[in-house]
């Protein structure tokens, strides 16, 4: 019974929870239970080393150290229920910190000899304990999350676990670029294929021709069927390696609006995969929704489809889809809705008088939307003469108001801060937009920087992308000349310190702030987004999403290039937590927010969140060092 109780406890505590019960049971036999009254100094800095790994059963400890030659105690960490201490001293032979019980604390003690055996028999345990990398956490956490959905009978699971090579049609019609259209059609008929891949001289895929292409591009367009297939094929063809997970291919299909993707093995054609293959694989797919959206011809039809699309998130979550992919899928679907409303608006008001580009801002710009999505958008149009100006401005005024109302109908709430194209300030010709950016960069004030951040995450969503590119090039040229701007960003970043004390909530008496919960968006997501933005702006990197930005920083010269893995996992994890939290609220019919309570998190989740906070603190310290002169 002592054993059962302890096994039960440890089976919820990482890394012990990853041991088989039989081993855990054996391990528990060698444990002792110790009690440390509040205030007890359990280990002294530079004192005797620990001969046990201590696992906190109840209570909490404070870990601190006094740097040499300084009298000030520095608190390194708080540890609480389910966490361990004494490891470094156990392994390293030196006690570098002082550990004090901040509450009456009971601990399970794992003796050094048993620990050493465990190190040998289960390297993963040590790795876990020693990791100061988030990698392991995230992997195991996602396993935990996936474990929750094991009961699911759905075959949708395959979409997220299967590699595209496993479901693609092994055989496909392959033709050279100079093959005639007629020959191609004959081959496809003979080989019973719905598409033919067109390859270049060295066998690389250069284009694709599908059944429906024959209808639209050949027959309907009256193409001579003796012409080369290269004249009517779609190109370039999107190809993926056979090892890519299926759902990534789905993403690509959504992104490029295509139905066929070539699958390659080491660069050579292996086959073709179609959206039909995926639809067969699963009943409710992002693609199905996407097509549903595409088929709508009126706002009245679009609105219910758009609202329904969010139901897909539940499926994705249950499948254990990576959270960062969930938000990308959400964003792709939202993009579709926005483009559809733009199309409807163009039909309503006639073609725009001058080229324009619709910009998604903020989280929409970064493709990081979760459930609650309010509109963050802007519109840039080509410069016009003074004479034309009133007419053009009037067109876009009506156009953008239609957009705002249409999107509200589709379930996107209006932006409370009025960052919308329907606000005349944010519907301007390119020259005016350039002036905005010049002002934000050359005359930064804390308020202006905060206000303009959302615009630095813009992404062209529809229309003439060259306008967006022009604007981007404009501000990228300015940034190096005004170091104070990045300094302001850095300053803002380091001021939002993650509340490590949140975890002390149980262990340490703290007043007020986090008693009711923690705002994940502000305290965990925002700092990571800010970190990625700061360093991409610094390096002139153009990626829009936080994950892509981090990836682009990998191996580079920036401060965080070595921390990319950790930052990606941290972002993955906090996003997952946020999406889960909001999904639960949605299911329960509660209003959606970003506030999580500590007591709703599992041990593993708490620890992962804590690691993310520590990582943010670490980067903030480095940023503070680098941008010293700008930190207020």
């Amino acid at each position: 019974m002592l054993i059962d109780e302890t096994v039960r406890f440890l089976s919820q505590v990482p890394p012990f929870q990853f041991l088989e019960e039989r081993l855990l049971r054996k391990l528990v036999q060698s444990l002792t239970l110790a009690f440390h009254p509040k205030g007890e100094v359990i280990l002294h800095q530079d004192g005797p080393v620990s001969d046990h790994l201590q696992i906190i059963k109840r209570g909490g400890v404070k870990i601190s150290l006094r740097p040499e030659g300084s009298g000030d105690e520095v608190v390194v960490d708080y540890r609480e229920q389910g966490e361990t201490f004494g490891l470094v001293s156990l392994m390293g032979g030196h006690q570098r910190t002082t550990i004090v019980a901040v509450q009456d604390t009971t601990c399970y003690l794992l003796p050094k000899e048993r620990f050493n055996e465990l190190v040998v028999s289960h390297p993963a345990i040590t790795e876990y304990l020693l990791q100061f990398h988030l990698t392991k956490y995230a992997d195991m956490t996602s396993r935990e999350v996936q474990g929750k959905s094991l009961f699911l009978e759905s075959s949708d699971h395959l979409l997220f676990t299967a590699q595209v090579g496993e479901i693609c049609q092994r055989f496909t019609t392959v033709v050279e670029a100079d093959t005639t259209i007629r020959q191609t059609a004959r081959r496809m008929a003979e080989e019973r294929q719905s598409a033919a891949l067109v390859v270049g001289p060295s066998g690389e895929p250069i284009g694709i021709l599908t059944d429906s292409d024959f209808r639209t591009r050949v027959v309907a367009a009256g193409q001579p069927i003796d012409g080369p297939v290269s004249r009517v094929m779609s190109h370039p063809v999107v190809s993926v390696d056979e090892e890519v997970p299926c759902f990534e291919v789905v993403l690509k299909m959504l992104q490029f609006d295509i139905e066929h993707v070539a699958v390659t093995r080491e660069g050579a054609i292996r086959g073709v995969v179609t959206n039909h293959d995926f639809l067969v694989l699963q009943g409710r797919s992002p693609l199905a929704f996407s097509e549903d959206i595409e088929h709508q011809t009126s706002l009245e039809g679009l609105a219910p489809v758009s609202r329904k699309a969010m139901s897909i998130i539940g499926v994705l979550l249950r499948e254990g889809t990576r959270a960062t992919n969930i938000i990308r899928i959400i964003s792709e679907l939202n993009d579709r809705v926005v483009r559809k409303v733009l199309e409807l608006a163009e039909r309503e008001f006639g073609p725009p008088p001058v080229p324009y580009c619709w910009l998604a801002l903020g989280s929409e710009g970064r493709k990081e939307q979760t459930f609650r999505t309010d509109q963050d958008n802007a519109l840039v149009y080509a410069d016009v003469s003074e004479l034309q100006k009133p007419r053009v401005a009037d067109y876009f005024r009506r156009f953008t108001v239609y957009l705002r109302n249409g999107l509200v109908q589709c379930g996107f709430e209006a932006c409370p801060a009025n960052y919308m194209a329907s606000n005349p300030d944010w519907c301007q010709p390119i020259s005016e937009w350039k002036r905005y950016f010049s002002t934000w960069i050359s005359e930064p004030t804390p308020e202006a920087v905060l206000k303009s951040l959302i615009f630095f995450d813009f992404r062209p969503l529809h229309g003439d992308e060259s306008l967006a590119l022009d604007l981007r090039e404009h501000f990228e040229r300015l940034i190096p000349d005004y170091p104070a701007f990045l300094g302001f960003l850095a300053n803002m970043l380091v001021r939002n310190r993650p509340p490590l004390g949140f975890f002390g909530g149980v262990a340490v008496e703290r007043s007020g702030e986090h008693k009711d919960g923690l705002n994940l968006k502000i305290k965990a997501v925002a700092p990571l987004v800010d970190i990625a933005r700061l360093f991409t702006l610094e390096k002139g990197i153009r990626q829009a999403s936080t994950m892509d930005r981090l990836e682009a920083l990998r191996g580079g010269t920036s401060l965080v290039s070595e921390l990319v893995d950790d930052l990606e996992y941290a972002f993955e994890f906090v996003t997952l937590l946020r999406v889960h939290h909001q999904h639960r609220q949605l299911e329960a019919g509660q209003p959606i927010d970003n506030v999580i309570r500590l007591d709703t998190l599992s041990n593993l989740e708490r620890q992962s969140l804590k690691k993310a906070f520590r990582l943010i603190l670490k980067v903030q310290d480095q940023v503070m060092d680098r941008y010293k002169s700008f930190i207020i």
């Binding site: 019974m1 002592l2 054993i3 109780e5 302890t6 528990v28 036999q29 060698s30 444990l31 002792t32 239970l33 110790a34 009690f35 009254p37 007890e40 009456d104 009971t106 399970y108 003690l109």
Partner: protein
């Protein structure tokens, strides 16, 4: 030299052993389940215990044995809630269990809540079986509680308005989780955790050796300790 005398000597007990620091002692924290409290007719039906080294409870050390009540042998009916006579019949006899338990307690200090009752039954049965009785040093957690309460320590548990708090009153006051109440091993584990919480308080109060521990935790002194407290409150 008998086994027990040998281990006493090895542990440095005897005349000088009394000075051993508490941290170096081994404890057997025990609890027995009885058919009733009448030493003339009632029996031990189970013994549960855990060992402690100093202040640490050894989780792998549990002793847990069910005992066939002697009444069964005498042909008397024993009604124990939830246990059928057949089940009782299948248990080992007190003689076998006592032998095993004596081996288990060799070289340790016995600790229990209201320990004198447990000891009375254990030694009664030992005498009947003409076996060696339990002469280990003994410490009672209720005596310790009474003594600590006289020192009016700051801990809120000492403000309990109970003349003789039960193990579970104390467990609650000291925030000890009770998983399996009223099994001998479960209660022994709770007692061990209670004793574990007393040890730092005793150290604060200057009790640091076996001698001191035996003096303030004497099983026969629980009443004296508790009544002294009553008197104290009248000043």
């Amino acid at each position: 030299m008998g086994l027990m005398a040998w281990s006493w000597a090895k542990l440095g007990w005897g005349p000088s052993g009394a000075d051993l620091p508490i941290q170096d002692l081994h404890f057997t924290v025990l609890d027995t389940e009885l058919t009733g409290l009448d030493a003339r007719r009632d029996d031990i039906i189970s013994i549960g215990a855990v060992r402690m080294q100093g202040s640490r409870i050894e989780l792998g050390s549990a002793f847990q044995e069910l005992v066939k009540p002697r009444a069964i042998l005498d042909g008397r009916t024993v009604v124990i809630h939830g246990i059928t006579p057949t089940e009782l019949e299948a248990r080992p006899s007190i003689g076998e269990v006592l032998t095993a338990f004596r081996d288990y307690t060799v070289g340790t200090v016995l600790v229990g809540h209201c320990l004198s009752i447990d000891l009375a039954f254990l030694n009664r049965d030992a005498r009947r079986l003409k076996a060696e009785s339990f002469r280990n040093p003994a410490v009672d957690t209720l005596s310790l509680y009474g003594w600590l309460r006289q020192r009016s320590l700051a801990h809120p548990a000492f403000a309990l308005e109970l003349p003789a708090p039960s193990l579970f009153d104390l467990a609650e006051a000291f925030e000890i989780e009770v998983e399996a109440a009223h099994s001998a091993l479960g209660d022994a584990y709770v007692t061990a955790q209670l004793f574990q919480r007393f040890l730092p308080l005793l150290r604060q109060a200057g009790v640091e050796s076996l001698r001191g521990l035996r003096r303030v935790g004497n099983p026969r002194r629980q009443l004296a300790n508790l009544t002294a407290q009553e008197g104290h409150t009248h000043f």
